[in-house]
């Protein structure tokens, strides 16, 4: 990628982590790699942002972590979405869609449409 990875819209990191975990439980590196992969390199989340976010989500009871063994036979903390995390994700996705639709409308507005 020629462009630098774009900074995340404030607050969206939490939603993206929840979404990632909605698919399957992952450890910290896995979450970062998955975000990188799905966004095709647009979002590269560094450890300094990722771990505080995980700590906060865990504190709020939206995800829960437990220690498992990776396919390469080493221990790592895997995070799973909790029911309240699932509910929060649903709500945030709905809000997000509403917002982006509105923003898209504004951006695509031409003089004639007003």
């Amino acid at each position: 990628m020629a462009d630098k990875p774009s900074p995340l819209v404030q607050g969206t990191l939490y939603m993206l982590i929840l979404k990632t975990l909605a698919l399957e439980p992952l450890h910290g590196y896995g979450i970062g790699a998955r975000l990188d992969q799905i966004s095709r390199g647009a979002f590269q989340v560094n450890a300094g942002s990722l771990f505080p976010a995980l700590r906060r989500l865990e504190r709020d009871g939206l995800i829960s972590g437990d220690w498992r063994v990776t396919e390469n036979n080493r221990r790592a903390k895997y995070y799973t979405l909790t029911p309240s995390g699932r509910a929060r994700l649903k709500r945030e996705m709905r809000d997000w869609e509403a917002q982006t639709t509105a923003i898209a409308r504004i951006l695509s507005a031409s003089l004639g449409a007003l």
Partner: protein
């Protein structure tokens, strides 16, 4: 904060070690997996781990960010920072000691003074809901006699307001304080008695720890004669004797049955001065000598006011409402009084003046304190002074701190580079400063305990138990903590905010040395200017007070004060009533005068220089009545040889002698002298050019007042109530023409030291009557000192704190200048290498000193102009803008600043350019 987060935080706090471990492990896994992923993508192991480390950055920083998510980590962080701060401070003992000591002095001064201020000015009475208590006082002209400061009520007036208070009060009580001589369980004491109505204890809500209190039933005219002891008196004088109830205590030779002991901590309604016994108010006639002077019982006499009246407001009633409701009752009573026989001889003007008087309801939750009236202004002035001292100390510390922070730039830059946030650094510095302040506060508390004791020595003790304590209680500790923390934040804040932003790269490359002047230079100079101008302000204050006190001490009081011992004695109420008292006291005087080592002795009804006075209106023979003329004099009844003993010359006419004594006319309780000696002021003010000797005067100013008293002599002026007060017009009358010898002050002129004079006095009194008590034994010089104790209090403290402030400012200036020279060594070296002379290098530093001093003076002048007027009433013989004090203070501070700058300037001039340029 949601409960969930709170719980999570608490849990994390409890197992913080495990949480940390888990985070460590998690991050390690992250690293490993990341490396593995990169290897899988085709990197070799070395490149993979390097790339990973670059990606993740500082692992510590990541941990910090994670920790910051929870609230509890901030607490832990503060704790960790405090530990780090303590270690850092320990590593710089010189800095820490200087800072803590400076703070301890500043905080200690404040705490010491606050200890006194709190107890004298701020406390409430230890009774139920003190805020509901009000005092009811009269304001305006009164026709008759007054025992107090003129705000009291006559007892009939109090009774009227008690019975018709229109439901504004839940209850009322009246009281009076009077000194009495007591005897109980074989000991004799001079104590303060509080005469109280039966409602006093119930309305205040004060109970007895033993027996009972005085109750409304004790007001009955034929009730038993009883007394209640204060807890303090019971404890100190009677050793907390549990069998004391039912025993007898005599007060002024009057037997009273002890019925109880009041609760601990309650010392009456005169805050700061303790009442030792409480007696029913109806005993006022029998226990006080004044009772005998009156034609009617004191409790029934509307023409004498002495009752200090209190009320407890009903809930919901405001002061204004109470006053509005009570005013008509007062006015009606006044209107009926002027029709009474008591006003038979009064002029219409006098009646009209009394009719214009009003009633005022005042908050009285803090009781009624003579001490407070006297000390309010001095104490607030001193509180302001110590506040300024603390400001100077803070400025000093801020500068010290700033310098310290500057030298630590490299440490901060390193920590920033390692991922610490600027906020964290600022917090770290703030914690260091607060830690210092708390250490200073604790040491300050110790200094304050000692200092408050020293301060109390200056509080004019009225001769009775003073209840002001010097041991700190919860309030004092809280006060100290608050000012310590505030101080810490105050001096730590600016440096913390200004200094945690070094540019990382240049500082680490060690180019930091060149930024010294820069931004903080202004801040530093600001602190220096503030210190100089505040110190000037305090020195001006100290100068004003010192010059005032000097004026006071130079004042000619008209009395020879050396080798004079005085004591008080009360024959009338201690077995020598009426004429027998006169015989006793004159006999005592003659025996004293004839004792070895005594050159003469005299006695007087009014003690000199104690604030006490006997004043009356006067009428002069031949002067027609004028309703608007209010001529008055301060009087004293004196013994033979009074003028020679006191060293007051008789200017005209004669002294009192054997002719001037007689048995008081039968049935005449009041003092009706036949002759008088006027002082010079009296003659000059009232007699104009007419010859004084032979002129007749009389007491009172009603039309038709008799003038039976002949002026037989004129005495030189002498001070009466205090050293500070102006000399009033005075009339002396012969003591032995009076009816009796009440509380009398004896003056003994000796050729010996005070201790042996005291032994002689005690011996002579014992020979005459072993049971007779004497009290307030002191030299006249001590009395003069007491008269000036408030002035001395202010002056000494203002001087001490002025000097302290100046020293602090000097240390502050020196510190900053020395530091600046060190920081500018390279620049100075370059200047010298380019040919600058030593002199011009010194000038570089001294110019800075002069600029700072000049600015300080410029700032101080308007402050002096604005503030000194507030101390005007404390000054004597000078104006608040006394040029000597102001110029003196400026000169001293300029000199001090130059001294502070001298060493650094010399050091600057001796910089060796070769060495200087090699630094770094």
């Amino acid at each position: 904060m949601p409960i969930k987060r709170l719980l999570a935080g608490l849990k994390a706090l409890l197992r913080s070690h495990r949480v940390e471990q888990e985070l460590d492990e998690e991050l390690r896994a992250y690293l490993d997996i990341s490396v593995e992923a990169k290897i899988r993508a085709g990197m070799d192991r070395q490149d993979a781990s390097r790339a990973t480390r670059v990606e993740i950055g500082s692992l510590e920083a990541v941990k910090d960010y994670v920790r910051d998510v929870g609230w509890e980590t901030r607490l832990e962080g503060v704790w960790r920072d405090a530990g780090y701060a303590a270690r850092t401070l320990r590593n710089t003992p010189a800095f820490t000691a200087t800072a803590v000591l400076t703070l301890a002095l500043g905080i200690g001064a404040n705490t010491a003074l606050f200890t006194i201020v709190d107890q004298v000015l701020l406390r409430m009475l230890p009774v139920n809901n003190p805020r509901e208590l009000v005092s009811v006082v009269s304001r305006g002209s009164f026709y008759g006699d007054t025992w107090g400061d003129g705000s009291e009520l006559s007892y009939p007036m109090y009774a009227e307001l008690r019975d018709r208070n229109n439901q504004v009060f839940a209850g009322t009580f009246a009281r009076l304080s009077w000194e009495v001589q007591t005897r109980v369980l074989g000991r004799a004491d001079r104590v303060l008695a509080e005469y109280v109505t039966g409602t006093y204890f119930p309305i205040l809500g004060v109970n007895a720890v033993l027996g009972r209190t005085i109750l409304p039933s004790d007001d009955a005219a034929r009730g038993p004669d009883i007394a209640v002891l204060s807890h303090r008196y019971w404890l100190s004088a009677l050793g907390a004797d549990p069998t004391v109830v039912g025993k007898t205590i005599t007060a002024n030779n009057h037997a009273l049955t002890i019925v109880g002991v009041g609760h601990e901590g309650f010392d009456g309604t005169n805050l700061g001065v303790a009442s030792q016994i409480f007696v029913p108010i109806r005993l006022v006639s029998e226990l006080t000598p004044v009772g005998a002077v009156r034609d009617r019982p004191i409790l029934d006499d509307p023409r004498i006011r002495w009752a200090v009246a209190f009320g407890r407001l009903r809930p919901g009633i405001s002061l204004e409402q109470a006053q509005t409701q009570l005013q008509p009752v007062y006015a009606a009573r006044v209107a009926s009084e002027v029709q009474d026989e008591g006003f038979a001889r009064a002029s219409e003007t006098e009646k009209a003046r009394y009719l214009r008087s009003t009633l005022v309801v005042r908050p009285a939750g803090d009781g009624r304190s003579s001490l407070r009236q006297e000390l309010t202004k001095p104490l607030w002035i001193l509180m302001a002074i110590v506040g300024v001292v603390l400001l100077i100390a803070s400025a000093n510390l801020a500068n010290l701190f700033l310098a310290r922070v500057t030298t630590r730039q490299r440490e901060f830059a390193l920590r920033l580079a390692l991922g610490a946030s600027r906020q964290r650094l600022a917090r770290q510095l703030l914690i260091e400063s607060v830690l210092l302040a708390i250490a200073g506060g604790m040491l300050g508390l110790v200094i304050a305990m000692w200092g408050a004791g020293a301060l109390l020595a200056y509080v004019p003790n009225p001769g009775i138990t003073l209840t002001v304590a010097t041991t700190p209680d919860g309030r004092i500790v809280a006060f100290t903590t608050i000012i310590a923390v505030l101080t810490g934040v105050a001096f730590g804040l600016a440096p913390s905010l200004r200094s945690t932003g070094p540019d990382v790269a240049p500082t680490l490359r060690n180019e930091g040395g060149t930024v010294a002047g820069g931004g903080y230079g202004r801040l530093r100079r600001g602190f220096m200017v503030a210190q100089v101008s505040l110190a000037i302000l305090l020195m001006v204050g100290a100068g004003l007070f010192i010059r005032s006190l000097a004026n006071l001490m130079r004042t000619n009081i008209g009395i020879e004060t050396t080798r004079m011992l005085s004591f008080r004695i009360d024959p009338d109420t201690n077995g020598y009533a009426g004429e027998r008292g006169k015989t006793f006291i004159e006999q005592l005087r003659e025996r004293l005068a004839g004792s070895p080592g005594v050159s003469s002795a005299a006695f007087a009804m009014q003690p000199l220089l104690t604030g006490s006075a006997w004043s009356t209106y006067i009428t002069i023979q031949g002067q027609p009545f004028d309703p608007d003329r209010r001529w008055w004099s301060y009087n004293n009844a004196v013994s033979p040889a009074f003028f020679t003993t006191m060293g007051i010359p008789i200017l005209q006419g004669r002294d009192f002698d054997h002719r001037d004594q007689r048995v008081s006319p039968e049935g005449h309780a009041a003092f009706v002298p036949r002759v008088t000696i006027a002082n010079r002021t009296f003659v000059e003010r009232y007699l104009g050019g007419t010859p004084a000797i032979g002129t007749h005067v009389g007491f009172g100013r009603d039309p038709g007042t008799l003038t039976p008293i002949e002026i037989v002599g004129v005495a030189a002026d002498a001070k009466y109530t205090s050293v500070r007060d102006e000399i009033p017009p005075q009339l002396y009358v012969p003591f032995l023409e009076g009816p009796r010898a009440g509380i009398t002050t004896m003056y003994v002129r000796t050729s010996q030291d005070a201790a042996s004079a005291r032994r002689i006095v005690e011996q002579v009194v014992r020979q005459l009557d072993p049971a007779m008590a004497i009290y307030d034994v002191r030299t006249l010089e001590e009395q003069v000192a007491r008269s000036l104790s408030t002035d001395r209090l202010i002056t000494n403290l203002a001087a001490v704190f002025g000097v302290l402030a100046t020293l602090l400012a000097m240390v502050g200036l020196y510190g900053v200048l020395a530091y600046t020279v060190t920081r500018r060594t390279r620049e100075i070296g370059i200047r010298m290498a380019l040919g600058a002379l030593n002199r011009s290098i010194s000038w570089l530093v001294l110019r800075e000193v002069l600029a700072v001093t000049g600015l300080g003076v410029a700032l101080a002048l308007p402050a002096i102009w604005g503030l000194t007027r507030f101390v005007k009433s404390q000054l004597y013989g000078i104006t608040p803008l006394d040029p000597a004090a102001i110029i003196g203070a400026i000169a001293i501070l300029t000199l001090v600043a130059m001294i502070a700058g001298f060493l650094p300037a010399r050091r600057a001039a001796h910089v060796d350019p070769v060495v200087a340029l090699k630094i770094d």
